[in-house]
């Protein structure tokens, strides 16, 4: 039936005439006269333009011209011609490699995207560092893309080719009789053997070579020499801090840069868990307030000249109890003496379970420390002298001899690798270097020393290099390149191989030497398997270490004569203590803007070094104590050791009176900045005739007119008695009391039956108690343990790199516009804040000062002279009832159904209302276009094509005028969810990690799914110590903090108002 119907438009179609068929095939029914019109020039010329046409053409022309004028941004994307097998665009690859720069040894995992390393985290496979990493190491990825790196070899300051270098230098080295190699401590066996081949010297089996000089920019010679004298072995022992119940450190900043600080951090953190059977007690004697000092249970400020007598007195107090002979020591003042009794008592209680450290570079003091540790029976238990660490082997004496030899002109050739002695040891070396005929520098970047060298043979960046390492007996690690070299550089080892006449590549050299030396110890069957596995893991532990020199003689030192040496030392005037900062280190990599912008963990100052001084002494001298944006520091001149520097003076609560501190490692130019950042304090380092180095010296301080602006990120130092921000308790209360004693629920005063009652703040919840959504699916959150967080700042730099956070420079930092998504708040206790009782501060202040509330508050703002310190990592709290979300007019910040507080950059119009309404002040506004504005071009790597290569392609670079903040690394969450989806299984605990938690080796920051009952973060949330910051505002954050527990006696039970 349906077929019988036919529709037609006209008779022509019905009949299907030929004319119809013809026309239906045409696009236009009539022939358009295009040909005629365009073909005939006359008609075309005659066709006048009407007014309307003119307007049309004008309009079109205008639109076309303006469209053409709008330049489309050029985005460069170069596709692979042949896709490398291991690279899938959009998927990250991880490579295990090793970082060692003479200061830190750290096995690392490098994240690469499309062949570019973009993130570094610690390698958890390592039994030494267990994933611990610090700011210096994880931000070293940026130095790879430093456009000011050396891009080709140079001869006499002019660009050269490797061929000409090899020809000229090869000849010079052949004719040279006295070749010396000056390097940082070399822990790479392969490098050592290549240097040996170059020097015709067997360095592996011979401990000392006169031609190979190892030089540590921060010297540990005194300790090494003391150990040589004590145990017949010039080495650093390994410390088992996880077994140490009593830790005494005299001037050793062992958590931040002192020796193997990364490994100490791991052990220390495991001993600081109050939930375990025991928690270590940490005593710290020091002059400067160090990062380690801020973490100590008991910190006693002392002058560095007292270090010897403190160790001596401790020795005597212990000796009396264990029945050893006493030694002669300079008497200490009574206060110190009383505190020492307490320390000695605790040490004796934990004999064989304690460690005594000393940061002094004085051999006599270190001998006495060894004696004390020996008395306490720590050797073989907490201190392992058999299994030694190789990360410091430098000798002050050998370096001094080298300089003398150079001065005499007898050194024909000097190869300098990994060190910058002109910067770290000063003018004498510079002068001597001029007398060396052939000087070669392997610097990655032009530095003070390479500028003086005849040949500059730029080394590869460590991320472009092969290498191996033996940091500690029995532990080996490999380093592999993660990117092909960016510039015309050559790895120093390959250069040396070439000059020594060794064939092949350095990679082959390492592989074959491992096959002959390390592989046999490993117990593996196949070398290829062993090699591949080691390369994959990055680290390997072998059972029978080859290098162990098992002949360690027992301790037999005449401590009395040592003590005599110490007691002769006298100090006069103000004592200057030189220290290294956690972020800057010895300064060899301080040109990294991320590190410069990382606030010092203690002073919270960025982009500068300065003189630290006790606040009360500063007040007496009339210096400005309270720094701020428009409240600059006074400048003083410090004279010591024949040189003087003009530096700003900054108050440091806890600084021992009569001492000042200055950080080393500053005075380098960052990026393209014209002026150096900070001032080089290495000239203050004291050297005696034998070349022994001391980092403490007496100094003269004089006033200079003028002020200096300081970029400080935290201006108010105390927590103002607000115990809903920081909660802390003492170990006895934590052990004996219940939750209401050490972590009570927050209450507010309410009314019931006409009486005022305390009501738990949760009762005031206006949102309704049941939030069913929060229990479905994922709810991402964090747990942060204030007890294990040392405040090191590795998480801050990691967050910077992962999330493409802008570098804004000193001036903007000074204006309080830090872009850090994650910051670490550091609070000092006020004079009236007792350990474990923050809430009572105001009452105590009012009582003690006899002032009202108003002036009580005023007094609470001043930190105590020697305050207790707490570090609190602070980032977006991802509140379930977030203040920021409700106030945004355009709904640019919203809540995800997985508990994340999200920020839609594209939608943000920048009213900053959200930031105002954020109780935690963690939102960051893009005040300028940081990636283009001229103010930032000198130091912001994002304004440089090469520097931009470090950017994480998963995270957008925010534009001007939008708000940004911690996203809990939502890109990682998404990636993990996708992966789980492909694998067809739910996301499991540990699949996702944030940048901050992934670099927190001490495990203070834990990230995970709060709805996953088996997750670590859930355990953290349900822990008795867990609390949320400013819980009483009812914002229900997803970040849980754990109460800090100090290993002290509660002030409530002892009624002791003073605190340590």
């Amino acid at each position: 039936m349906a077929n019988s119907k036919k529709y037609w438009k006209g008779i022509e179609q019905l009949k299907e005439t030929a004319a119809f068929q013809d026309s239906s095939n045409k696009e236009f029914s009539e022939q358009l006269p295009i040909e005629e019109f365009l073909g005939d020039e006359n008609s075309l010329g005659d066709a006048g333009t009407t007014r309307r046409d003119f307007l049309k053409y004008l309009g079109f022309g205008l639109a076309a011209a303006s469209l053409a004028a709008c330049e489309t941004p050029v985005t460069k994307a170069i596709p692979y011609l042949n896709k490398p097998e291991e690279i899938t665009p959009g998927i990250a690859n991880y490579y295990a490699t090793t970082f060692y720069d003479g200061l830190d040894y750290c096995p690392i995992l490098v994240k690469t995207r499309e062949g570019r390393p973009i993130f570094i985290k610690g390698n958890v496979e390592s039994s030494l560092t267990k994933g611990e990493i610090n700011a210096r190491v994880n931000s070293s990825v940026l130095s790879l893309y430093d456009n000011t790196r050396l891009k080709s070899p140079m001869i006499n300051g002019e660009e050269a080719t490797w061929v000409s270098i090899d020809n000229r230098l090869g000849k010079e080295l052949k004719s040279a009789k006295n070749i010396k190699v000056l390097a940082n401590t070399i822990i790479s066996p392969s490098t050592k053997s290549i240097i040996g081949k170059l020097l015709n010297d067997d360095l592996i089996n011979q401990t000392v070579s006169n031609n190979f000089i190892q030089y540590d920019s921060i010297s540990y010679s005194g300790m090494l020499d003391a150990n040589l004298e004590s145990f017949n072995k010039r080495a650093i022992p390994t410390y088992n801090l996880d077994k140490a119940k009593s830790i005494v450190s005299v001037g050793a900043d062992f958590l931040a840069g002192w020796l193997d600080s990364l490994q100490y951090n791991v052990g220390y953190a495991s001993g600081r868990n109050p939930e375990k059977e025991w928690m270590s007690k940490h005593f710290q004697f020091e002059a400067n307030m160090s990062l380690t000092g801020t973490n100590a249970d008991v910190r006693i400020p002392v002058k560095p000249s007292e270090y010897g007598s403190i160790i001596g007195s401790l020795y005597n107090k212990v000796a009396v109890k264990v029945g050893a002979n006493k030694i002669i020591v300079t008497a200490l003042n009574k206060v110190h003496d009383r505190r020492l009794n307490e320390v000695a008592e605790h040490l004796l209680l934990h004999k064989g379970e304690s460690v005594v450290f000393c940061g002094s570079n004085d051999k006599s003091i270190q001998l006495l420390v060894n004696g004390l540790n020996n008395l306490l029976g720590n050797y073989g238990k907490t201190i392992d002298i058999e299994k030694t660490s190789y990360v410091r082997q430098g000798s002050d004496k050998m370096f001094t001899e080298l300089v003398k030899e150079m001065e005499s002109g007898s050194v024909d050739a000097l190869l300098i690798y990994g060190v910058d002695p002109v910067f770290t040891s000063g003018e004498a070396f510079k002068k001597a270097l001029k007398k060396v005929k052939t000087s070669v520098s392997f610097a990655v970047k032009m530095n003070e020393t390479s500028a003086e060298c005849k040949y500059v043979c730029p080394d590869n960046h460590f991320l472009e290099s092969w290498n191996d390492a033996l940091p500690v007996d029995g532990h080996y690690s490999l380093a592999q390149p993660t990117i092909s070299q960016l510039f015309d550089t050559r790895q120093a080892q390959e250069s040396m191989m070439k000059w020594a006449g060794v064939d092949g590549s350095y990679y082959q050299f390492i592989k074959s030497s491992w096959e002959t030396t390390i592989f046999p110890q490993s117990g593996s069957l196949m070398f290829t398997d062993f090699w591949n596995k080691t390369l994959h893991d990055g680290v390997v532990d072998v059972k029978t270490p080859l290098n162990r020199i098992s002949i360690v003689s027992p301790f037999s030192i005449d401590v009395n004569s040592v003590a005599n040496n110490i007691s002769k030392q006298k100090s006069t005037g103000i004592e200057l203590v030189l220290y290294i900062k956690e972020g800057i280190g010895d300064g060899l990599s301080s040109d990294n803007p991320i590190l410069q912008e990382l606030p010092d963990p203690v002073s919270k100052i960025t982009w500068d070094n300065y003189v630290t001084m006790n606040p009360s002494e500063m007040e007496n001298a009339g210096y400005n104590v309270q720094l701020g944006q428009e409240s600059p520091a006074n400048i003083i001149s410090v004279t010591a050791n024949g040189t003087s520097l003009e530096l700003p003076v900054v108050s440091q609560p806890g600084q021992a009176k009569g001492t000042i501190g200055i950080a080393l490692g500053y005075g380098k130019n960052v990026g393209k900045m014209a002026d150096p950042t900070g001032k080089n304090a290495f000239p203050f380092v004291l050297r005696d005739q034998d070349g022994n180095i001391s980092y403490t010296t007496s100094a003269l301080v004089t006033d200079i007119d003028g002020t200096y602006p300081i970029a400080i990120t935290q201006m108010q130092h105390t927590v103002m008695g607000r115990d809903s921000i920081i909660r802390e308790t003492t170990l006895d209360v934590f052990k004996d009391g219940d939750k209401s004693d050490f972590n009570p629920s927050h209450t507010l005063i309410g009314h019931k039956d006409g009486k005022s009652v305390n009501v738990i703040t949760k009762e005031f919840n206006i949102w309704g108690k049941d939030q069913p959504v929060e229990k479905i699916g994922h709810r991402w959150g964090m747990s942060i343990d204030l007890n294990t967080c040392t405040g090191c700042g590795a998480c801050v730099t990691a967050c910077n790199i992962e999330n493409n956070i802008a570098i804004i420079g000193k001036d903007e930092m000074r204006r309080g516009r830090s872009m850090h998504w994650l910051r670490i708040d550091r609070y000092y206790a006020s004079e009236y804040q007792d350990a474990g009782d923050i809430a009572g501060t105001l009452e105590k202040t009012k009582e003690a000062e006899d002032v009202g509330t108003t002036f009580g508050y005023k007094h609470m703002e001043d930190p105590a002279d020697n305050p207790l310190v707490v570090h609190q990592p602070m980032m977006c709290q991802h509140c379930n009832h977030a203040g920021c979300e409700t106030v945004c007019p355009v709904a640019a910040t919203t809540h995800s159904n997985e508990g994340l507080n999200m920020m839609t950059y594209n939608r943000c119009i920048g009213t900053r209302y959200c930031a105002n309404n954020c109780a935690y002040k963690v939102r960051r506004f893009n005040w300028y276009n940081y990636t283009a504005y001229k103010k930032f071009s000198e130091f912001n790597p994002s304004q440089d094509d090469l520097g931009r290569m470090v950017l994480n392609p998963d995270v957008v670079v925010r534009s001007r005028g939008v708000m940004e903040k911690c996203s809990m690394c939502v890109q990682s969450i998404q990636a993990a969810k996708l992966q789980a989806k492909i694998a067809g299984k739910p996301v499991e605990d540990g699949d996702v990690d944030c940048a901050c938690s992934s670099v927190c080796g001490s495990g203070a920051i834990v990230f995970g799914d709060l709805n996953d009952t088996k997750s670590k973060v859930r355990a953290g949330m349900e822990n008795d110590r867990a609390y949320r910051v400013i819980e009483e505002k009812g914002q229900e954050p997803n970040i849980f903090y754990q109460t800090k527990v100090r290993n002290l006696a509660s002030s409530k039970t002892t009624k002791n108002h003073g605190h340590s």
Binding site: Q629, E630, Q714, M715, Q716, V719, M720, G721, R722, I725, L748, E812, R815, G816, R817, R823, D825, Y827, L842, T853, T854, F855, Y857, K858, Q872, M874, G883, T886, V887, C888, P889, V890, A891, C908, I909, G910, T911, R912, Y913, A915, N916, N917, A919, Y920, K921, R924, F925, N926, W927, Y928, N929, Y933, R960, G961, V962, M963, V1029, I1030, K1033, Q1035
Partner: protein, 490 residues
């Protein structure tokens, strides 16, 4: 026994005041070359305005970083200035709308310039939330516009959004109200204009007003309806502005008394600004006989009342700060913002300007003294700026986490934009004084004869001489009789 109603003091002073005199005086500026004073003021104002526009362009071109704000201080001078200007923009509509509903005849002498001030002040106020945005070019996103992005919509929870609605509504209603009032007066100017361009312009602006009875009747009705519409807006605008603070959790902002307190504060500052401008204008334009000391005194009384409310609000805030026992609130009121904090100077400035200073107006001698009034009003204007500065900057500078406590330091751009808006405002106001009928002259004429004292004391002869129209012996015995019933055009 006193049989007559008490005779009110005349609202317009002087024996020789006639309708034509009023017309001539009010339109003097329009019909004559600008005075030297006007030219000087206009030059200064234009330079300042251009400077301000330059600062705004620099700000928008470079970034909000050119202001002194920081991570803790998301707002400072920008919103301070915004609230200050909005507050100033309160008096005009209150005078014209609320006083119209309450049949306060004295409003007629001052409503036109006060309304003009309102319009320009709200315009200036609107500038700040606009330019304070990080991305001004996306500002239209605050409107619930239909879009092709699916469910992309504004956040109706945000007080900032309601700010947009409240201020734009207030702005448009005030503008319409003001313009409606201007129409008959524009017609008067048109009728008297001799230059063709002038005539054309004013006839366009007067919408063909004929002045017939029907037109007047509609005019009255529209005025009444608009007054009814504008009255709640007077209260809503500043209530909603106050919610920017009151609904937040910042200690010191989070306060339930903010809406009434802000409205009172706004009227307070608005009247002070009216005083400041009016005292200059009446002198310069020789309109002392229309804007009399009586008007000044009435407005001073409004200032006393609203200033009192503001004072009580201050005390309440301190009491609640103490009474709640919340340590953050307590800290803000006991220390940070008050006597001892780093912003103590701002706090004490506020207390002096807004608490002590207006108290002098309780003395009749002072509140009827023009010089004293001018000084006090000027100080109140400054004080009200400090009030907003105190609320915004002090509270933000020291909120929950002590680690984030900081200070605010303005930059030259902060200053430039603020001064610039004063310049732009002045340009508008000076243009208004020159080209617009500064007073509602047709309305003013309705109250010319409301004062019967003169007539009462007049002999019949005199009366007849003055008004020869009256053939019969009508002698006005009561001032209420002719007060409301006279509709006279020139």
């Amino acid at each position: 026994m006193h049989k007559e109603a008490a005779i009110r003091e005349p609202l317009i002073l002087g024996d020789d005041v006639t309708y034509s005199k009023i017309t001539a005086d009010v339109l003097h500026a329009i019909e004559h070359e600008p005075t030297k004073l006007w030219k000087v003021l206009m030059t200064i104002a234009t330079i300042t305005a251009l400077w301000g526009i330059g600062c705004i362009l620099y700000l928008v071109g470079t970034g909000i970083g050119t202001w002194g704000l920081n991570n803790t201080m998301g707002w400072a001078w920008d919103i301070t200035n915004f609230v200050w200007w909005v507050g100033i923009g309160h008096a005009g509509t209150l005078i014209s709308a609320v006083l119209l509903l309450f049949r306060q005849k004295w409003r007629m002498a001052i409503n036109r310039p006060a309304e003009a001030m309102t319009i320009f002040a709200v315009f200036m106020a609107g500038t700040f939330p606009l330019v304070h945005m990080g991305r001004v070019w996306m500002a239209y996103w605050v409107f619930p516009l239909p879009n092709q992005f699916g469910s992309l919509w504004v956040n109706f929870n945000s007080p900032l959004l309601w700010d947009v609605f409240a201020i734009s509504t207030y702005m448009s209603v005030s503008l319409v109200f003001w313009y409606i009032g201007l129409i008959p007066d524009f017609a008067t100017v048109r009728d008297r204009a001799s230059k063709p361009v002038q005539k054309l312009m004013y006839s366009l602006m007067s919408f063909g007003w004929t002045g017939n009875a029907k037109a007047w009747q509609r005019f009255e009705e529209v005025s009444l309806v608009l007054a009814g519409l504008a009255t709640p807006l007077v209260f809503s605008v500043h209530s909603i502005v106050s919610m920017d603070f009151a609904t937040s959790i910042v200690p010191g902002w989070h306060s339930t008394i903010f809406p009434p307190y802000f409205v009172a504060g706004a009227v307070f500052s608005g009247f002070a600004m009216v005083q400041t401008l009016m005292l200059i204008a009446r002198k310069a334009m020789r309109l002392e006989y229309i804007i009399t000391v009586k008007h000044i005194e009435y407005m001073n009384i409004v200032i006393i009342v609203t200033g009192g409310i503001v004072g009580v609000a201050y005390c309440t805030e301190f009491f609640i700060g103490w009474y709640t026992g919340v340590q953050y609130e307590s800290y803000v009121y006991m220390s940070a913002g008050a006597a001892t904090g780093p912003y103590a100077w701002a706090f004490w400035s506020l207390i002096f300007c807004n608490f002590i200073n207006p108290a002098f107006l309780w003395f009749k001698k002072i509140r009827t003294s023009l010089t004293a009034t001018f000084i006090i009003a000027l100080i109140i204007n400054i004080g009200m700026w400090f009030e907003r500065f105190d609320i915004i900057v002090t509270c933000l500078s020291r909120d929950y986490l002590p680690s984030t406590w900081t200070m605010f330091f303005p930059t030259w751009v902060d200053l430039g934009v603020f001064i610039g808006t004063i310049g732009i405002f002045s340009v508008f106001y000076l243009l208004f004084l020159k080209y617009f009928p500064v007073l509602a002259l047709n309305e003013v004429k309705t109250i010319l004869k409301s004062s019967g004292e003169r007539y009462k004391n007049m002999s019949d002869e005199d009366f007849k001489q003055l008004h020869p129209v009256f053939k019969t012996d009508i002698k006005v015995t009561n001032d209420t009789n002719n007060k409301d019933n006279e509709e006279t055009t020139d």
